[in-house]
């Protein structure tokens, strides 16, 4: 399937050079991301709304006293318009909300609503803002144990490097290593959502889960707390057993990976059946297992070493689907497009090939091409009217129609959505389109 632009404007000139640009340019480093955020926020000059400058000015005098007694205390009478009070045990608040810990041990931020943030001695932390609903704590390095009181309307944020963790009532430990560009979040109870540079959408985490993000390697792995972190094998081919084959992993990975991937990585019987359908002589690269370990870049790198064209031509259905997923997660959009297109062309009867239509739609949507995205969603819905992604495809189709000012089409889809998925994720939005806000 030709996904490239048509020939009516002339052949793509200097194709090899264009490919070089795609492969070698356009990756923003974490340092650029973090520094850029500082510059932009500083140049904006927006007041820190949760408490703002009034809060900072009230910090200076009490902080001096706190330095003498070894305990930083800053209190404000709590009423409906004033922020939550904060006490810093084992340290003090310096200018700009910076937390200076007692060198003998880490400081603990004790908020008057019962929330506590215990910092490691090496933590570099600021209390960026505070109000009656919560606070924003920014950690540029180190580890913090966060225990947020579950109160109605609570709004807490913990920023770790380029990541932002949105907290309601929960307890977790977060670490950010700026040198290794690694984030770890270990959940004890409740739920959080983590926003950051490796995903377009927030990653939800629930009680008992552990998230590791290695920014440099572009790896994102969620596993059950207590299970060992996946190791990176020297070569994927040498991997003898993928973690997705271990009991207990499937549920964890289901938060990060689409169901078809789990099926592909799941049972040996399933894989054997698929191998049979796709051709027994094809090389099996076990990319599905590597995918479940979050080794997205490794998979794409191996495909590039072997030759992407060759992989697309001879990989089995399972490996091809895994390559497509890995490329999508690691944002190698062109490789993902080609792998999905190959999947549809070579295994047209496979469920994964039908799912590929939806995933191609997501790629086009992410690339800012709504009309092409809608075409793929419509194709998916016609091929798999009761498929895994039917609700999502219809909902996104509706959203895109509305976003591109095709009100009539959006309303038509909204009716269809409500008829088929009255309790679905997009039902509220569909009702708004049909009945008005």
């Amino acid at each position: 399937m030709d996904l490239r632009p048509g020939a009516d404007t002339g052949a793509a000139p200097a194709d090899a050079l264009v490919e070089r640009i795609r492969a070698q340019r356009g990756r923003m480093t974490t340092r650029q991301l973090v520094d850029g955020a500082h510059v932009v926020v500083a140049r904006l000059g927006w007041s820190r709304r949760l408490g703002g400058r009034r809060w900072l000015s009230r910090t200076v005098a009490p902080a001096a006293l706190m330095a003498v007694v070894g305990l930083a205390v800053w209190t404000i009478v709590r009423d409906r318009t004033r922020p939550i009070a904060l006490v810093v045990a084992g340290g003090r608040l310096a200018g700009g909300g910076r937390v200076e810990a007692d060198p003998r041990g880490g400081a603990t931020l004790e908020f008057s609503d019962g929330t506590e943030v215990a910092l490691s001695p090496d933590a570099r932390t600021e209390v960026r803002s505070i109000d009656r609903h919560g606070a924003r704590v920014v950690m540029s390095a180190g580890t913090a144990h966060v225990d947020v009181a579950h109160l109605e309307g609570a709004r807490w944020f913990v920023d770790a490097g380029p990541f932002s963790i949105h907290v309601t009532g929960t307890a977790f430990t977060v670490s950010w290593n700026p040198d290794g560009e690694r984030l770890d979040v270990d959940m004890e109870r409740g739920t959080v959502e983590i926003d950051g540079p490796l995903s377009d959408r927030a990653i939800p985490l629930r009680s008992g889960q552990h998230l590791t993000v290695k920014v440099r390697e572009r790896e994102t792995v969620v596993r059950e707390r207590g299970q060992p972190a996946p190791e990176t094998p020297a070569t994927i081919a040498a991997t003898t057993k993928g973690p997705a084959e271990d009991a207990g992993q499937t549920d964890v990975e289901s938060r990060m990976l689409p169901r078809p991937v789990l099926e592909r990585a799941g049972s040996k019987a399933t894989r054997a059946a698929r191998q049979k359908a796709g051709g027994a002589d094809r090389p099996e690269r076990r990319w599905a297992a590597a995918l479940a370990q979050g080794q997205f870049e490794t998979i794409v790198g191996e495909a590039e070493r072997i030759g992407v064209d060759s992989c697309l031509a001879d990989a089995g259905e399972s490996d091809l689907a895994a390559l497509a997923d890995a490329a999508r997660y690691a944002r190698h959009t062109e490789v993902a497009r080609r792998a999905l297109a190959a999947l549809r062309a070579r295994f047209p009867d496979a469920p994964a090939a039908r799912d590929a239509a939806f995933l191609l739609g997501r790629l086009e949507e992410t690339a800012g091409a709504p009309s092409k995205a809608c075409e793929w969603y419509d194709r998916y819905l016609s091929e798999s009217p009761a498929g895994t992604y039917a609700s999502e495809a219809l909902g996104r189709d509706m959203d895109l129609a509305q976003a591109t000012y095709r009100a009539g089409r959006a309303e038509e889809i909204a009716h269809e959505y409500l008829r088929r998925f009255p309790q679905g994720t997009y039902a509220a939005r569909a009702r708004t389109i049909v009945h008005g806000p």
Binding site: T9, P13, V41, R49, P197, A369
Partner: protein
């Protein structure tokens, strides 16, 4: 939607969140278009400052991503135009070609890309933008027309002119011509 409302209310956390979420997309577009990390970094910041300043004009809060992408594209065209004017007046921006390679790229590849970006500098802002959106970013003609506010015929004409010019210029560069003549396969990415 909540993010857009918070940006409209000038909440600092929202600016950070929007930056962390969308800056890599904007930087990617600009860096592939300009071939200079420094220029792209500065311009990415300018794009976001402009987006935040004009966030109140966003009619559909669900379209924040498109809003940012369109702003980046406008800024890119403005930058290319300004840069071209400076080049026409002084023959060179700074007397040296800017950084045009990623760390770790082989020296031959770096030189090829440097030459290729030098060649793209010969194109007008609109032609270069249309060329990049089509061949590097992979957008459709309709999408390019919508994003740049040009008719389909104009988009086609710009891409064709840019493509022809790129081919002619590449043939005039011995190393590029040799590389392209070999199909770029010998040391492809």
């Amino acid at each position: 939607v909540a993010l857009v409302h918070a940006l409209t209310a000038r909440e600092e956390w929202a600016a950070r969140l929007a930056w962390n979420r969308y800056a890599p997309m904007v930087y990617g577009l600009l860096d592939r278009a300009l071939g200079s990390a420094g220029e792209s970094e500065d311009l990415t910041q300018e794009v976001f400052l402009r987006v935040f300043a004009r966030i109140h004009t966003l009619r559909d809060p669900a379209a924040l991503r498109s809003f940012i992408y369109s702003s980046a594209l406008r800024m890119l065209r403005w930058h290319l135009r300004a840069k071209r004017v400076r080049r026409l007046l002084s023959l060179s921006d700074s007397g040296e070609l800017p950084d045009r390679a990623s760390p770790g790229v082989d020296s031959e590849g770096r030189d090829l890309l440097r030459r290729f970006y030098g060649l793209l500098d010969e194109l007008g802002a609109n032609e270069r933008t249309a060329f990049l959106l089509r061949h590097v970013e992979g957008l459709t003609l309709d999408e390019i027309g919508t994003l740049t506010g040009a008719s389909l015929a104009t988009v086609k004409r710009r891409i064709r002119r840019a493509s022809d010019r790129v081919n002619v210029l590449a043939q005039g560069d011995a190393e590029l011509a040799q590389y392209l003549g070999e199909g770029g396969a010998a040391d492809g990415p």
